[in-house]
Every structure is written in C-alpha cells, then in structure tokens.
C-alpha cells in the first residue's frame, strides 16, 4: 500500500540521526526501528484517503520540514509557562524539547519499588522490561505515525508500578517544547502490575508563537485488578502539530479512567485505543476546545475482546470561529464478548457559523447478548437554560458564557484530584470569554 503522504525530507534526514537515537546497543530495538523506518519510507504519513484519517489532512508536515535539533542546552524554557502548568502536590517529571530534565523534576519519596525514569535511562538500566513491553500494544496499528514514532523516538517515560503498590499521589509528565521547527518524538511505557494503582498526568505545552511537530506514543499495560487514571492536558501553541496516541491493554478486571483535555494546537490528533479482557472497565472522558483555525481530532477505539467488560465514553467539544473538531469513536464487541456493557456519547457545541465538527460513532458488534448505546449531538446553547439564568438576574451574555463554561466544566468535575481540577479550571477560564465568570465562585 502506498497511498500515503510522502515524507521524503524526513526519510532523508533519518540517516543523520539514526545513530544517535537511544538504545543503539540493543539489537532488538534497532531491528524494530529499522523495520518501522522501512514501512514509513514506503507509506509516508497517513492521507485523507485512509478511512481513519478522512477528516484530517497532514500534508503540511512535509512542507514544513521539522527537524530533530541537537543540543538540549539550546532550550529556551519559559519558566512561567512551566510553573502555570505544574501541580504542587504531585511527582513531576519535566521533559524539555524531548530531553528529561532531572533538575526541574520532583521525584523524591517515590516508593523504592517503583521505577520512574526517562526512556533513555530505561533502555540502559531495564532493557529486559522495556523489551517485554515495547510494541506489544501496537499490533495492528499500521498507520504512518506509529512507524514514524518507533523509528524516531528519542525520549519518553518509563514507569513501572509493581504488584499491590498504590501511588499516593499523581505523577505528572510535562513535555515542554521551546524551539521553533523542532521535531520531538517520544515513546512512553507504563507498566501497572496486578492490584497496583497509579495516576499519571501528561501535560503538553510549548513556548508562545512557535511551530513544531510532536509525536508522542504511550504504551500502557494494566495487569489484573490494577487501576490507572490517565489525564492528558494538551495546551499547545496555535502553530504546533500534535500527534498523540495511547494504546492500552487491560487484563482481567483492570480499570482505566482517562480524561483528555485538548485545548489544541494548529492540528492536534488524540488517539486512545483500549483492549479489554474479561470484566475490565474503561472510562474515557474527553473535552476539546477549538478556536481560530484549529483542528482537533479525537480518535478512540475500544475493543471488547472478552465477556463482562464495561466501557463508558463521553467526549465533548466546543468549536468557535473557524475551528474544526473531529470525533471518531469506534467500539468493537468481539464474538466472545457477551454481556458487554458499553456507552459512547459525543456532544458538541458550535459557537460560530463557521465552526465545524465531524462526528462518527461506530459500533461493530459480533456478540448477541450485549448492551451498547451511543449518542451524538451537535448544537447551540439551550435557550430555556439562558432564560432560567436570566430569571436569576444574570444578563444574557453572561448566561451564555456561564453555559458554555458549564458545558466544559462538567468534564473538569469528573477529575478527582483537587489541584488538577483547579489547574484545569484555570486553563478553562483563561480560554473562555470571561465576562461575569468568577473563579472564586466556582469551587
């Protein structure tokens, strides 16, 4: 198959960087990278002719010529930007332009049995563990960005939470991009062993005004009866390109709670795929806010492989000005997956006549004893609610702002960790027309 968007510039550059990528000493990895590069060279980036990429054209990437930049010391870190996105009561790992920064990170007092380190370090110190996990969630993922990520990745996170270990506070991974035209590629591996519990918060930010390409792939293995809460905050510049994908395998009775908050880039693609074994549960919550000419594409897939698993999905979008939103949600229920209980909802608010959303929920059901629901709405604010607020002394403009904010805040309310909720609230208020909105009244 060769109908992708050719990426000759990237392929040509690869020869120059391949030998400085981490994990050179590991033959298995080199082999994976070479195979992936081979596929990427032929396929290129996905084109809108592919069903899964119908609404998202990435051809600008080839024209832009993003490049891997040498020397992390050249980074121009905006400390205020970082501080504004950092939780005070979490373990924090900061990655600047793809490089782990120990001096900016806060990893003291982690339980000794827990491993948190950069992918580069993990490839040196825990190569067997990495080898056992890396690539295992990506079988069947054949699109160009996955191959690209495998071939190029130079950083990321390695997390291992051993059996019966409960992390008492979240681990926040902040990826800051500081340089114009940078190409950042990260691969993270999260291993949550049986009966363990953890919360991880991914945060993507970039210096104001810069354009860059970020590709971040997370592989997540949640073992029996373990639980992971995974929050993604994607709050990047109006010129950035973000391609993020999280690929999860959940063993029997494993639980995943995901919150995705996408404030956008110029083009942001957020993928999450979950494979559910027996009686596993996943809850996917998403909020995407687009304005100007942003495109925010959410692509979710839940595979019910075995019986009695449960999935809940709620994605909400608010699109203003000329922004475009995409929601493609696919739920697959395999023949063996009897008693599947699944619900998928996508709600969109269009604030301008020029805003657009393409929403496509898909149910593919091969079992006969299942409960699967889905619903989609695209609309404007409810006038009855506007009148209700007016009758409570609130002027119409403020009422509309409150309702728009409330539509989004409902997703923030689902977040349990208080300081994270506060951070999200702050980002929301920053984003919305603020007439009459008062943060101190909200919490």
């Amino acid at each position: 198959m060769n109908n992708g968007i050719q990426a000759k510039n990237y392929s040509a550059e690869y020869q120059n960087i391949a030998e400085v990528l981490p994990g050179q000493q590991l033959n298995w990895l080199t082999a994976q990278r070479e195979a992936a590069f081979e596929k990427f060279s032929t396929q290129g980036f996905p084109s809108p002719r592919e069903e899964e990429w119908r609404y998202t054209n990435v051809s600008a990437l080839e024209k832009k010529q993003f490049a891997v930049l040498a020397g992390a010391e050249e980074s121009r870190l905006d400390e205020q930007l970082l501080a504004d996105h950092t939780l005070q009561d979490a373990w924090v790992m900061v990655i600047v332009d793809g490089h782990f920064k120990a001096e900016l990170s806060v990893l003291q007092d982690l339980p000794e049995t827990v491993t948190v380190c950069s992918m580069t370090e993990a490839l040196h110190r825990h190569p067997e563990q990495v080898q056992a996990g890396l690539g295992t969630t990506l079988a069947g993922q054949e699109h160009g960005f996955i191959h690209f990520n495998t071939a190029w990745f130079s950083g990321g996170l390695f997390l291992h939470v051993p059996e019966h270990t409960v992390l008492q506070k979240p681990l926040q991974i902040i990826q800051v991009t500081t340089r114009e035209a940078a190409l950042i590629t990260t691969r993270s591996l999260l291993l949550i062993d049986a009966h363990a519990q953890a919360e991880v918060i991914e945060t993507y930010i970039g210096n104001a005004g810069i354009s860059y390409l970020l590709s971040a792939v997370n592989e997540v293995l949640i073992a029996e009866n373990a639980q992971l809460t995974l929050t993604k905050i994607q709050d990047e510049t109006d010129k950035a390109y973000h391609f993020g994908g999280t690929y999860v395998k959940q063993a029997r009775d494993a639980r995943l709670l995901q919150h995705s908050f996408s404030f956008g880039a110029l083009l942001a693609r957020n993928e999450i795929h979950c494979d559910l074994q027996q009686a596993a549960e996943c809850e996917l919550n998403g909020l995407y806010l687009g304005r100007k000419r942003q495109l925010i594409d959410n692509h979710t897939r839940i595979n019910h492989l075995q019986p009695n698993a449960r999935s809940r999905e709620t994605y909400k979008g608010i699109l203003d000005q000329r922004a475009r939103g995409v929601f493609q949600g696919r739920v697959l229920v395999c023949e063996d997956a009897q008693k599947t209980d699944s619900d998928m909802q996508n709600r969109n608010l269009l604030l301008s006549d020029d805003a657009e959303v393409d929403t496509k929920p898909q149910l593919e059901i091969y079992a006969d004893d299942v409960k699967c629901a889905h619903g989609v709405t695209v609309g404007q604010l409810d006038e009855q609610s506007v009148f209700y607020l007016q009758s409570r002394c609130v002027d119409a403009t403020t009422a509309r702002n409150i309702l728009t904010f409330a539509f989004a805040n409902e997703m923030v309310d689902k977040v349990a960790w208080q300081s994270l909720r506060q951070l999200l609230l702050k980002l929301l208020l920053h984003r919305f027309p603020q007439t009459g909105m008062r943060k101190e009244w909200l919490s």
Binding site: S391, R392, V394, L403, F407
Partner: protein
C-alpha cells in the same frame, strides 16, 4: 405593586391571553387557578420576560415601571422571582455559584457592595435548614439529577436567599408528595411579609390548604372568569372547572 391592565398576549399570532386585568398590592397572595391550556403558564412567562410572547394590547406596570420593556434579568434584579414549573438542569454550574452570582447582581443593581463571603454562607445555610435540604445540595450542579421535589425545594431556596418583592410560583405544587408539599409551603409562609406579594399559579387546591391566599382567580380561555376569596378554591375543588367556564360563556 403589580398592575396588569387588559393584557392580550399572543404566541406566533395565536392569542393566548385575551384581556387580563389584575392588581396585586404589597403583602397580598393571589392564587391563579384554571384548567390546562387556560393560559396560566403564559401569564407567568410574560411577567418574568420570557422571549417568544407578543404583548399585543394592554400593559403591565410593576413598582410604577413599564414591565414589558424590561429584560428578564432587570425584572429579576428589580425583585421579580419566577419559581419554575420545570426547573432547568444546568450541569457544570453549582447551586451556590448561581446563588452568589444572582445575589450580587441584585446588590450591584441596588448600589450595594458584594455580599461578604462568610455572611453569604451563613445566610444560605440558614435557608437550607429552613427547607430541610442537605447542605451538600449547594455544591451540586444546578438541579442536576434532583428529584422533582428537590428541584421545587431548590426554587424556594433561591427565592428565600434572593428575597424578591414579587414571587411568581408556577405550579410549584406539581410533582410534590405531601411531605415535600408541607416543607415547600412552610418555606413560602416564612417569606410572607407586609411588603412581599405572591402570585401562585396552580391547577389544584391542595397547596392552598397550606398557603392561604387572599384572592383566588379562575383563568379560562385566556380570561379571568371569576374572582373571589379562598372559599372559591374549595368550591372549584368540589365542583371542578366546568361550571365557571359555563357561567363565563
């Protein structure tokens, strides 16, 4: 306080109210009763300023002001409160947020400073106890997932905190069991003062067992066809609406 003169109201050119006149003085309680489709809810919506209704003839004055020219939020800040028949659920905004926003809008309108946070909380908590509501309700999203009775109690809670001059209760008794009805009625009675007036719209007489009106008006086919004292409500309860409608015809 409120004076309605020969009020005609249409929705999309269909006339719903066909010449209503009503005077409400400070401290009075007026019950508006009538069969379904008589225009009761239209009257409450027009008084509170909901869009979509055209006042074709007549006028409404409130405290000497021309009410029909005022936006709903201005009416509310001037002291008109509508307790909704179907309170709206607003996920994502807490009850206490709305109460604070509303109370401060009124205070600003009156040229007062914002309410002190601690004073505000103690006022709200006191009213919450009055309506036998759990304080946790305050921090929940507006009416979201509330039972029908909880929604109605929440309306009365808002009314108690905002202390309006003219309270319009639109079928506040519908959907209430007898215990909830008693609590809501007690809440209303506790708000009675020599200055505050009530217009209670109701289909049934039972709310009037607990909140005694000064006047009862029967609305049918867009007109007030009969007015009287509290005894009229009892008569309607035993005989139904047929006889008044016939008398009027």
């Amino acid at each position: 306080m409120l004076s309605i003169e020969n009020l005609h109201v249409a929705i999309e050119d269909k006339e719903i109210l066909k010449g209503i006149s009503l005077d409400v003085n400070p401290g009075e309680i007026h019950a508006i009763m009538g069969p379904n489709g008589s225009g009761k809810s239209t009257l409450s919506h027009v008084l509170s300023g909901k869009a979509g209704y055209q006042v074709t003839t007549g006028k409404i004055t409130y405290k000497g002001l021309n009410l029909t020219a005022m936006e709903p939020e201005i009416r509310a800040r001037e002291g008109i409160f509508l307790a909704f028949q179907y309170p709206v659920e607003i996920p994502g905004v807490s009850n206490i947020y709305l109460l604070k926003a509303a109370l401060n809008s009124i205070r600003k309108h009156q040229g007062l400073d914002e309410v002190d946070a601690i004073d505000f909380l103690s006022i709200v908590k006191e009213k919450t106890r009055l309506l036998e509501m759990d304080e946790k309700f305050l921090y929940r999203a507006i009416n979201e997932g509330f039972s029908s009775g909880e929604k109605k109690r929440n309306e009365i809670l808002q009314m108690a905190v905002l202390e309006p001059l003219l309270c319009i209760l639109d079928e506040t008794d519908s959907g209430l069991d007898i215990d909830a009805l008693k609590i809501v009625a007690a809440g209303i009675n506790s708000l009675r003062t020599a200055q505050r007036s009530f217009v209670m719209i109701t289909h049934y007489q039972r709310l009037l067992d607990y909140v005694k009106p000064d006047f009862v008006h029967v609305l049918a086919h867009g007109r007030i066809v009969k007015s009287g004292g509290p005894e009229l409500a009892l008569e309607l309860e035993s005989k139904g609406y047929g006889w008044v409608e016939e008398q009027a015809a």
